[in-house]
Amino acid sequence: MSCLSKTAAILAGSSALRARCQTHSPLEIARQLAFTRREFLRSAAGVTLGGSLLGSGLFARSGVPQKRRKVVVITFGGGARDQETFAPEGQENIPHLMRELIPQSTFFTQVINRGILGHYVATASLATGVYETVNNFASLPPEHPTAFEYFRKDLKRPASDAWVVAPSNGFNRIGESNNRSYGPGFGARVILPKHLLTAATSGGPDYEHLLRDNYETPFYTPELGGSEFELQQLQMLLKLSVDDFKKHARTLSSPDELSVYITRQLMQQLAPSLLWITLHDIDIAHAGAYSLYIEGIRRTDRLCAELWKTIQTEPEYAGNTTLFILPDFGRDSDEDSGGNGFQHHRTGDALSRTTWMMAMGAGVRQGVVIDRALESTDLVPSIGSILGFDASLAQGKPIIELA
């Protein structure tokens, strides 16, 4: 990481803009950001403020028995900033979130990530409810039990009931921690669609655009270790022939579209109760091309809506599924001279740490905005409250508005 090179810029700088930013503490900036998001949403999506609304048994009153409940988590693609999403000038990039999803959701305007802002380690932190400190670029499992392990061990669920669809080969160990009380045998199955496509096609010009990997360090694709989704399982579990897979893949335009295609297959064939999809196209921002970053946001917006539609139409999911959509973290602000705006998430400033979350579907109030501060580690205990497991080693707390 190169935060100190940015700090060197801070040390050498004499920024009037930075000085303005400095008059507010990170906490104040986070609160202001939440307030601004709420105002944007109120004006654009017509949602109401629900700061004092508590859950008080929402799920119990929904009538869905615990063993039929399902949870789908989508991480929103590598982080996007408000000015390209929820701010007035950014709303054109997220028409599906603004018009279709937010009015149906409880929207949390202030989700703070106090951990390391690297995609693998931050996603691992989301999945464990603990700020993980594993090497972002090594093929290592999380150190604390994941939601999948709590779910499977506590509720005695089979391996087929928890799945992760991940964007990069570097995520192949995310389904299972090395915690002694959980770990081996209790984790989620992990599908790496790009790995699957490589196995099916051996690359080739028709597919290379779907095989982009790891934008944060674009020259490097980690070699795989740990358990992999074998090609033959494509046919056995997903009921998808190699030819059909290849044929369909040719019609897709990005790695995230490939992930969503595989996710749909999983939902139709296995209907896992806990399903986690990590989108990543937006992270092309690291290459510094603003137009590609915006394209990534627009595509992610569309894919989130498509997945929500799938949830509503698949019989196994319709009516009993709670969907969470959240970024793992934000990106650097234009005002921080230590960064380079949208390109990275290296400064650790309040804007790159303060993000949002929407929850929708079974057991969730519609059209409500909550602007009290949450931590990203609160997600796993909240999933636990819905599905009925105890995330005993997580640092976060169940979100009361969803309980």
Partner: protein, 400 residues
Amino acid sequence: MHSIDLKPEQFSGYPPEARKLATANLAALQRLPLSFLPSLLREVIDYDFKFPAERKALERELANLSALSPEQTKDWFQGFAQIRLSPQLEQFDWVNAPAQYVEQLSAYLWTTHQLDAFRVAALAYADLLREAVPPEPPAIPRLGITVIGQGVTTPEEPLFRKLRPHGVYYSRVQPENGLKQILELVAARAKAHPIAQSHWYIDGGQDASHDSAITCVSYQKLGPARAALSSKIRVEIERPGMGPETLRTLLAQMRTADLGLEQGAVMDRFQVKLLTEGSGTQIFSTTFAQWAAREALRRAQPLTLLVRFAPRQRQKPMNEMLAAGADSHVELDPMGSLVDADMGAYYNWLNQQRLTGAEQSSFLVWFENHGEAVAIGPSMPRGTESTSPTDLQKLISGMT
């Protein structure tokens, strides 16, 4: 090793001017906490390859540190003194490899959740330093010019949306000979105020003919260096055990000769850093132009900076883009590049405003070969429009 143990002979591996600077300020360096000192030494070790503005700032910073009493030093660095370091960091050869130390410290700060505390300490130090050693005003008001949109006839979206609120939007600029007029104006400023490396022209494509008094960096000219770098990257990533951090360290250690540059030590080193430290600068000319402008402004603090964006290659798999190197037949994406450049122009303005004399600085962005422009400056009313016909020469003269 601790700071207090520093001795003059430990700087024997430094380039000559850097060695002199370090030994002349040894007493001050010995008083600094280890969470801060290597980031300062990282600047010192590069002193011989720094621009005049950077050298002056570093000299003034060190002079100020030397003038602080022990008590004042303690006060200034109390935030840094509270940062806990690992024994590995303390044992690291931070005198000779400060950049590598800083990389490791950075990772350590993230891992131990001390980054926020470090950030607070760094900002507090920057404030104290700015108060004690105010940055010097520029010799003349700065002028930034950014030219965007090469290869595009009609934009898909309105241009300059981020910049319009800060100045005057012109819709009837006569585009004939526009670039030539701009380059003549930059040359005139360079001749009237002949301060070394103070008048720049950065081109994201092939640089247009320009006066030799102007410091020029162009993406096209760096084609062979980019090809050499791409080929080295491809070799390195095939090595067993190679990881992103090792690769980054290797790139940071590359020298000018590795990439065949020979424009002069300072400029060579600057250009190598653009390619080895910038993310995406190797593959996208728009990223290169924006990052080069950012680094030129941050480091050289130019009085005049012209940045001309050119179409970048269309997005493809990374290996293919790397392999494209200096190939002039790559498929281009002019429309996407216009969007990149429009945002790049905004960042150029923001970065110019971070320098001293921001209140007097002027900035122009022009849609190349078209009639649209935005002019920002003390005499330009904010958020206004002008439909009067004008040419670039008149427009810029009116701004400065």
